[in-house]
Symmetry: C2
Subunit: 292 residues, 2 copies
């Protein structure tokens, strides 16, 4: 019989972590030991009352119960506490000059139509037109002909097509574009609008308790891929959005804020935006996931 240390307030972390069996993988052991230590530190540093801990248990329970096939409230919680962005950041440390990544979000749809460069993706024709164009290259500036850009954003009112299947055309504000021989691409869309993340659940209540709004800063989504290069999941942000510095999910990075100018030769707006990709081998692989 192994003799384990008994639990005490002072030795609580050691008492719990000493229980792990010999056959536990080193990674699982290290992660769980860290989780337990920080969990106990929260309780100790906050001097949590029994009522507060009960409220936390209830919140976690409500969050789990809100999840369904079409709603993931724990991911939403991770998003609004900055954890999703932190995990993205840690797993995509890119060299200087490479286009930075940000959150994928829940509204990407595979298989959007591929259009010729210059196509207008405002299938409903609404919103001020905005021409987005630029170049896909490696970090030394060599063009990447044939690079594929998968683009999606909300309509002029702040809703994705999949949120309003009955009043928006299918594939509204979505499209794929292929860079030409010089690595250049172009399309026309509407200027993006901010919109709220789903805030009718426990996470919405938490945001309200924290005095925070649920709005995402106005943005256009991109996934840019080219064979042999690391795909980049990213946004460009509208510099004039009132929520630019207070995106509810912390997706904004300085390097992703576009310059939007009045169009010279047409009505509306124009953005020049280049992407710089890095070879697929440049990213360090992450640690191995625990078995489940």
């Amino acid at each position: 019989m192994t003799e384990y240390p008994l639990f005490s307030e002072e030795k609580s972390v050691e008492a719990v972590n000493a229980r792990m069996g010999d056959a536990v993988s080193p990674r699982m052991r290290a992660v769980m030991a860290t989780v337990v230590r920080h969990l106990h530190e929260v309780v100790k540093e906050c001097d949590l009352s029994r009522e507060e801990w009960a409220a936390a248990i209830q919140f976690l329970t409500d969050t789990g119960q809100m999840c369904s096939d079409w709603r993931q409230e724990f991911i939403l919680l991770s998003d609004v506490l900055g954890v999703s962005m932190l995990v993205e950041a840690i797993n995509h440390r890119r060299p200087q000059g490479a286009t930075e990544n940000t959150v994928l979000g829940p509204f990407h749809v595979e298989g959007a139509p591929e259009y010729p460069n210059g196509t207008d993706i405002r299938l409903d024709g609404k919103g001020d037109p905005m021409r987005v164009q630029g170049r896909v290259a490696d970090v030394e500036g060599h063009p990447l002909p044939g690079a594929l850009l998968d683009v999606w954003q909300t309509n002029d009112a702040g809703y994705y097509d999949v949120q309003q299947p009955e009043c928006q055309p299918k594939w509204n504000f979505r499209g794929r574009f292929r860079a030409d021989a010089d690595g250049r691409y172009a399309f026309v869309t509407a200027r993006p609008r901010y919109y709220p993340i789903p805030d009718d659940g426990p996470v919405g209540k938490l945001l309200a308790q924290l005095g925070r709004h649920p709005n995402r800063a106005a943005h256009i989504h991109f996934i840019v891929t080219s064979p042999g290069f690391d795909p980049v999941i990213t946004h460009i942000f509208d510099p004039d959005c009132p929520y630019l510095t207070e995106d509810a999910v912390f997706g904004v990075k300085d390097s992703l804020v576009a310059r939007i100018e009045p169009a010279v030769d047409q009505q509306g707006w124009a953005v020049e935006w280049d992407f710089a990709l890095i070879p697929a081998s440049t990213l360090q692989p992450g640690p191995v996931a625990p078995s489940s």
Copy 2:
């Protein structure tokens, strides 16, 4: 428009916590800032992969979905990670000499029959008899006549009556006893047996991944109350239980391990066990819970 700091790996905690509104209560602000800081530290110290974070989200979701009116999987999680015991410890720091508290557990039932001292609570007559007797007093040793002891435990096979309503008599191994003029109490029960916490859910799977068993060390539950004194929720533990130093919920404290000896004048076992209560005013009140 307030300018908030943008999110970065280095300043992730500051970026999230800066968002809290001015009207947030100081307690909520302090607790959430601490939670966010430790959450981000876990991600950074473990260098969590996207797959690992996704597995954590799935585990929390499964845990929430396992909860029902009669099953609280997040409390179980809190129990096996030592958090429940830690919260109890922090909220019940007792002076030297006072009987220590431990977890209440989910099997207490209000309103057990009150019996004369010496009554046998083995309503099914099964198990080696064990006489438990002793004294309820204050920490200076003054007896507390009329103190009430609420007692419950599993039957000889490791199940509470409420877990087996069809094969155990109602109130089997439960009873209330009142201390006499000298503060003395006595009852007869069976020697307790270890038993598993519910391990057919996500927490059971986690325990298996951690190489841990689900067993609670053999114990008898008590709530001891006396007017003007702080009620103590506690156990006594069987020193010969094979799981004494590895109770699945970390409930064992050195001071709660009984000495069980062969009975002198009868078949079975005997335990002498005293309780020392402290005035209700001795405990520091905990901080105020956040509004919900």
